[in-house]
Symmetry: C2
Subunit: 480 residues, 2 copies
């Protein structure tokens, strides 16, 4: 771990420690276990010696859930973050690394030496190791692998062989397995031999001699059954199961739809190879909606809120560059009509309205289509029907809002024909927006791309250039 | 239910039935229970009599999970949707109504008469009734209420008394309760008296004489414990619990963070009054991210994909109207500089670039801030620090991209000073975008509004009007 000189930083830290303290206090406290009242004030940091403050902080941190510490680390600027990271007990390091965002994880891993990293990874399960592996130095990964037994190594390699958006990368190997030809009594006795059942266990998987999944025994059914009853009689055979090469997003939708807590993962032969848990699926749902939001806004990936300026510049430049190109195209469209604008300068003032409303309306359409495709509510063969509907909406909006703004324009500039051109251009541009709003995501989907990616930039490019062209073209033809 | 004349519609339906059939086949089938092969073809609809097709469809639908039927209904145009709805077994109606989106639910409820509605609601729990109640005719609600016993009516009224985004509106009353002074053996015997444990049950709530929550007994702990052990010894006292007036979104974040499956809801005195389950929380997460996405795109609420054109127009007009106003303001800013544009028409072609890049960059900033505020990663007192960072990013981007486009502009129009004005305007507008991108959501949050709502429209309004003003102002001052 980076050596943080406590003497040197502590002066500047006095203010920030208050901040850390507040963050810690804000968290759901496990009130019974920490003997302290939840509203306890931070000690007066100026008057006490720093070693004491640090040890109090350390105590507080030790009482927190790793997810809470992860949250605090994400909310702290880099220097304070590393200081707190230094105070965290080493045995929590691995769990915290799992919980923090990718960007923050990078900063934490950078601050640790290989030896510390190996120690932090030691308590983790293979599927947790698989999650961290891509962010770790190669040397550390191979050292950790060396410490695993053969079964674990096979599990890790299997998990690493799937893309991180596949079921195979997210499944764990903690499934409890039984046979169908035993009684509930036997199952209960078998379970009592565990030190602890795996987290989230809501069902036990029933397999045959060669490991093929035959059904599941929900715990809530086991608990109310006659101890003499055989597993095979009471198990559920209607099982929602997944393959390791399925998309994680699809599995998350199924969890959402069927209210699942865990589900088995089976291979092509029906053999049980792992399980999915709802907590992983919740993360998938969160990440998916986050990435849609980031993509719509033109951010490449999640950003550490306190990243250095240059990191943020790097994360954002790609979409800005694309936007610059599309804006340049729109500008050249206007350039073609410069002589028209020179003759009737009102056109310059009115053209952004046509383009802007088109962009807004197009974004409404494309968002609806992207969402429906993602949720599986829309099939590509319905595109035609939806296009007609969107066209209907755009014609109504065009006539209404185009009429309003056309009226205002004709009053403002004293020209009825200018108002009529405005009305026509608005309607046509909204129709263009509706058409491209349906077409772009459907084409993306058809060619196997993510329909959300860049949809907002693309539709705006169409409605800007298109809007300028339609409005200035009509104006040149009819007014000049 | 609306009388669908099967003879009349069936001709048109031949094509659509194929579609319904395909949708059904696409769903995760409970393969063992339906004896049919999953790739079974739709019968040749032209050659067989319609009654037979309908009865086969009905059979298929009967084998599906209510959530799947809900999904199919959402993916069907209105007329087909009502036909399928007519085929669904009445005892599934209530569950399906719970699963469909608000917009689709409305169409289904409209098609049912009060008598059918009351029958459909009969099998539902009180918290499920509470979820549907706002969409139901008043008469139906009071009739259903009349059929409840006193306890259920109190539960329903309590659930209805909370806003639909509060914990109190989402909790159910299916908690299993025990005392701390009994042995695990007794608990197991007590559980066996249930016909079935409530869905999602992963823990049993431990209460005292007057109903105050003392701890929870996770089932996974109960199953591995010595039958002689007392509940009080093995129960967990570190319990994450919620109050009914807490925000559902906050509870969902806690479920996500602590990987919860269920959690107790307690009143101010610590008395257990209900429980939250992860499936409800997953819906909260999904709805929250959906509504952020819809708000960003300027849609008021989720839309039925196959809604009549006028319904869509109504859902979208509000944001279009706001956008029209902001676009009009931007247009008037340009209007002020009409004489400058008349003198140097190149300005008209270049000004949308300045405004457009500002809008894109501002959206990047505001999305990051909105997201960090929503996730609780950012406190308002960090706004100052983040503003400085965003300002740094915007200055770098302004100099780089402003330099590029300034160079292009000066080559294109043969004027170095025009290029310099472009560079300056771009940098200043990006700085404006960074400032407003931090300021707008922080002010929204400070005044208790949702920072996501309209953020995109507001930032674009600033960068459009601001960009035009800065660019045309600088050009007027330095070039003319």
């Amino acid at each position: 771990m980076i050596v943080v000189d406590k003497q040197q930083t502590s002066a500047r830290l006095q203010g920030n420690l208050q901040e850390v303290w507040r963050l810690i206090e804000r968290h759901h406290q496990f009130e019974d276990s920490s003997g302290s009242a939840p509203q306890e004030q931070a000690p007066e940091l100026e008057s006490v010696d720093h070693a004491q403050v640090f040890s109090e902080l350390q105590l507080k941190l030790g009482q927190l859930h790793p997810a809470d510490i992860a949250h605090i680390l994400e909310a702290l600027p880099l220097e304070d973050r590393l200081l707190v990271w230094d105070l965290v007990k080493a045995d929590q390091d691995g769990d915290i690394l799992l919980e923090v965002s990718d960007a923050v994880r990078e900063t934490l891993i950078e601050s640790m030496n290989p030896h510390e990293l190996v120690a932090a990874l030691e308590p983790l399960d293979t599927e947790e190791l698989a999650e961290l592996a891509p962010d770790l130095p190669k040397q550390v990964v191979s050292e950790v692998m060396g410490g695993l037994n053969e079964e674990e190594r096979a599990q890790l390699q299997s998990a690493l062989s799937y893309g991180e958006d596949k079921v195979g990368a997210l499944m764990d190997f903690d499934q409890v397995k039984i046979r169908a030809d035993v009684s509930c009594e036997v199952v209960l006795r078998y379970l009592r031999r565990f030190d602890e059942l795996p987290l989230q266990t809501d069902k036990i998987f029933v397999i045959d001699d060669i490991g093929v999944l035959k059904g599941v025994l929900p715990i809530r059914k086991l608990l109310v059954s006659d101890p003499e009853a055989m597993v095979g009689e009471i198990m559920a055979t209607e099982v929602v199961s997944f393959r390791p090469d399925e998309e994680a997003v699809e599995a998350a939708l199924a969890f959402e739809r069927y209210d699942l807590v865990t589900a088995p993962v089976v291979d092509a032969a029906g053999k049980l190879i792992g399980r999915l848990t709802v907590d992983e699926m919740v993360d998938v749902i969160r990440e998916e909606s986050d990435s849609d939001m980031l993509n719509l806004a033109g951010l490449k990936e999640e950003e550490d809120l306190f990243a250095p300026v240059m990191d943020s510049v790097k994360n954002r430049w790609a979409w800005l560059a694309i936007n610059l190109c599309t804006a340049f195209v729109a500008s050249r469209v206007i350039g073609v009509f410069e002589s028209s604008i020179a003759q009737l300068v009102a056109l310059a003032a009115l053209m952004p309205i046509v383009a802007g409303i088109g962009g807004n309306s197009g974004n409404q359409t494309i968002t609806m289509i992207v969402r429906s495709l993602a949720m599986g509510q829309m099939q590509l063969n319905q595109a035609w029907r939806l296009w007609r509907k969107e066209l209907g909406v755009s014609i109504i909006n065009g006539l209404v809002w185009g009429g309003v703004i056309g009226l205002v324009a004709s009053l403002l500039y004293g020209s009825v024909s200018l108002g009529l051109v405005m009305l026509a251009a608005m309607t046509l541009n909204l129709m263009l927006a509706a058409t491209m709003g349906v077409l772009i995501p459907c084409l993306m989907q058809k060619f196997g791309r993510d329909p959300a990616l860049g949809s907002s930039v693309l539709i705006t490019a169409c409605t800007d250039s298109g809007g300028f062209f339609i409005f200035l073209g009509l104006a040149t033809f009819f007014l000049l």
